[in-house]
């Protein structure tokens, strides 16, 4: 079937719409002037300012601590849960609960955890964000790993059992290696989501320990500075690189298998 010409209008409009604001942001980050709006000349001055900004550095460190911790926890718990659901359970209720954090509005999870932390009188800090991010990270890891498990060949596990390996050996030597790409993808997803997450962190972080999105939020809220342009450009560069590398890697593994 031929491609209707008329469709190219909304098609290109979509990409223009998606990329124009980003392009402007990147362009303005190289501005030598003080205004975030009008371009005066090329300079890397705002990147220098950014490097010297203690608040942003603090937020960045906090974000990385939370994201790394939550990713490790979510990957372990999510993988076990996925294997458990695929091999040891037929409960529809469990399935529903496991995807709940992914479909629940973030705001609802945020207030739920705020209320819960208050009730058990836990002081807020980085740990409270880390525990919260693990909840949805785990849901995504479990979902990704489980898709891979349902496509995996169960006869390999049966062969392992038949050859005398116990369930633990079978899991470690047979199931886990088969799942490795899925686990890696799930972990990457959990990490990226945690780095980006704002709403839940906003509700569960201590005011003295903001994550990077919280720092950006307060900067944006209380006035626009060109430093944000530079920060935004760096974040964009990191995300773009990660996505493209991940895309290449999955294509590579697809072409290998």
């Amino acid at each position: 079937m031929r491609r209707p010409r008329l469709l190219y209008v909304p098609f290109w409009a979509t990409y223009l719409f998606l990329y124009a604001p980003i392009a402007v942001l990147v362009f303005m980050s190289f501005n030598s002037g003080d205004s975030p709006y009008s371009f005066e000349g090329f300079s890397l001055k705002w990147y220098g300012e950014l490097a010297g900004n203690a608040e942003i550095r603090h937020g960045l460190v906090n974000t990385l601590v939370v994201a790394l911790g939550a990713t490790v926890l979510a990957t372990v718990l999510g993988t076990l849960l996925a294997v458990g659901m695929a091999r040891h359970s037929r409960s529809k209720l469990l399935d529903a609960v496991s995807v709940l954090p992914a479909v629940l509005p973030d705001l609802v999870l945020a207030i739920g955890l705020l209320v819960f932390y208050g009730m058990i009188k836990m002081t807020l800090g980085l740990h409270s964000v880390l525990l919260a991010h693990t909840v949805f990270g785990m849901a995504f890891v479990a979902a990704v790993v489980r898709t891979r498990l349902t496509h995996a060949d169960t006869s390999l596990e049966e062969a392992s059992r038949d050859l005398g390996a116990g369930p633990v050996t079978t899991f470690l030597r047979i199931t886990l290696p088969q799942l490795a790409p899925g686990i890696a993808a799930g972990a990457l997803l959990a990490f990226t989501l945690s780095v980006d997450e704002f709403v839940i962190a906003f509700f569960t972080a201590a005011p003295t320990e903001p994550t990077l999105p919280i720092v950006i939020y307060s900067m944006v809220r209380f006035g626009v500075t060109p430093e944000i342009n530079a920060l935004a450009t760096l974040l964009l560069a990191v995300s773009f690189t990660v996505v493209i590398v991940a895309q290449r890697m999955t294509r590579l593994t697809e072409s290998l298998s």
């Binding site: 709006y37 809220r221 944000i228």
Partner: protein, 291 residues
């Protein structure tokens, strides 16, 4: 005979034990985590809807229905209906823009298909706040659009801080979530069905209405859900692009928890949010079953 029966029973009980062990090892940790940090917090929120607020925040465990009657106070009802309206408009616009885009992507040659899809997803993987901020830079009083218009002798206009900007922000943020399920549904559609329709005398518009659209309806519903749900409960976009007033139900909930300290009423608003979501999920399940 007897001996083998006995050993059979022993083997059965052993395998039952190993299965129970497997469940405990694999399901135990994750399930415990989900119960403690997901189900209990949600149950707390739900139970708070029935109680009175404490004088300095917190809850007084004294049953009341007043949180629910307050939902229908015009002051709050307007906000809820307004959020429904804004989220619906954003969803419809995303659908109208997203459908032709997804349709064209599905028809591109393989190589370009991947590129086009990655390009749709890419902005979604960049920081949400950064993307919203980009619009402020673009649209604010001295921003790029106004300065360009100024050179033409127009403006300056106040683009920011109205409902149109909120809708723009919502569409911008969640458009990729519309395109992906639509693309999946259109891609799955057998192109011969469209050819068959043309062969039987249907003009392209008729083919779209009678064949393509009904067969991609599950994708349409999923995409709408993916855009509507985060739009409806959003509080960042209305705050940053809408001027900080309590315009959408998300802002209202945030304020109840962080400013007014009225947790029971905040919980009740959250319940309303969940209720709308559940209705939509049921609708989606129904449409998926029909297809």
């Amino acid at each position: 005979m007897t001996r083998s029966t006995v050993s059979g029973a022993a083997a059965a009980s052993r395998s039952r034990r190993s299965r129970a062990l497997g469940r405990l090892v694999f399901l135990g940790p994750g399930l415990t985590y989900l119960i403690v940090l997901l189900l209990i917090p949600l149950a707390l929120v739900l139970s708070y809807t029935l109680f009175r607020r404490g004088r300095f925040g917190g809850v007084v465990y004294e049953a009341t229905g007043e949180n629910f009657t307050r939902l229908f106070d015009p002051l709050y009802l307007d906000v809820i209906l307004g959020s429904l309206r804004l989220a619906t408009i954003a969803t419809v616009i995303a659908l109208l823009v997203g459908y032709p885009t997804a349709y064209l992507i599905a028809m591109l040659p393989r190589k370009w298909k991947t590129v086009a899809l990655v390009a749709i997803v890419l902005p979604f993987w960049t920081n949400f706040l950064v993307r919203i901020y980009a619009w402020i830079v673009l649209l604010s009083g001295p921003g790029l659009v106004n300065s360009t218009l100024g050179e033409l002798g127009l403006g300056p206009f106040e683009f920011l801080y109205n409902q149109g900007t909120i809708v723009t922000g919502l569409v911008y943020s969640y458009l990729p979530l519309m395109v992906l399920p639509l693309y999946a549904a259109i891609e799955k559609l057998d192109p011969q069905l469209r050819e068959a329709s043309a062969n039987l005398g249907a003009r392209p518009a008729r083919t779209f209405v009678s064949v393509t659209l009904p067969l991609t309806l599950p994708g349409v519903v999923t995409g709408c859900l993916f855009v509507f749900v985060p739009s409806f409960g959003n509080f960042i976009i209305p705050e940053l692009l809408g001027g900080g007033r309590s315009i959408m139900v998300g802002n209202l909930i945030r304020d109840q928890f962080l400013k007014a300290r009225d947790w029971p009423f905040g919980s009740t608003l959250a319940l309303a949010l969940i209720a709308v979501l559940v209705v939509l999920l049921l609708l989606q399940a129904w449409s998926a079953r029909r297809a």
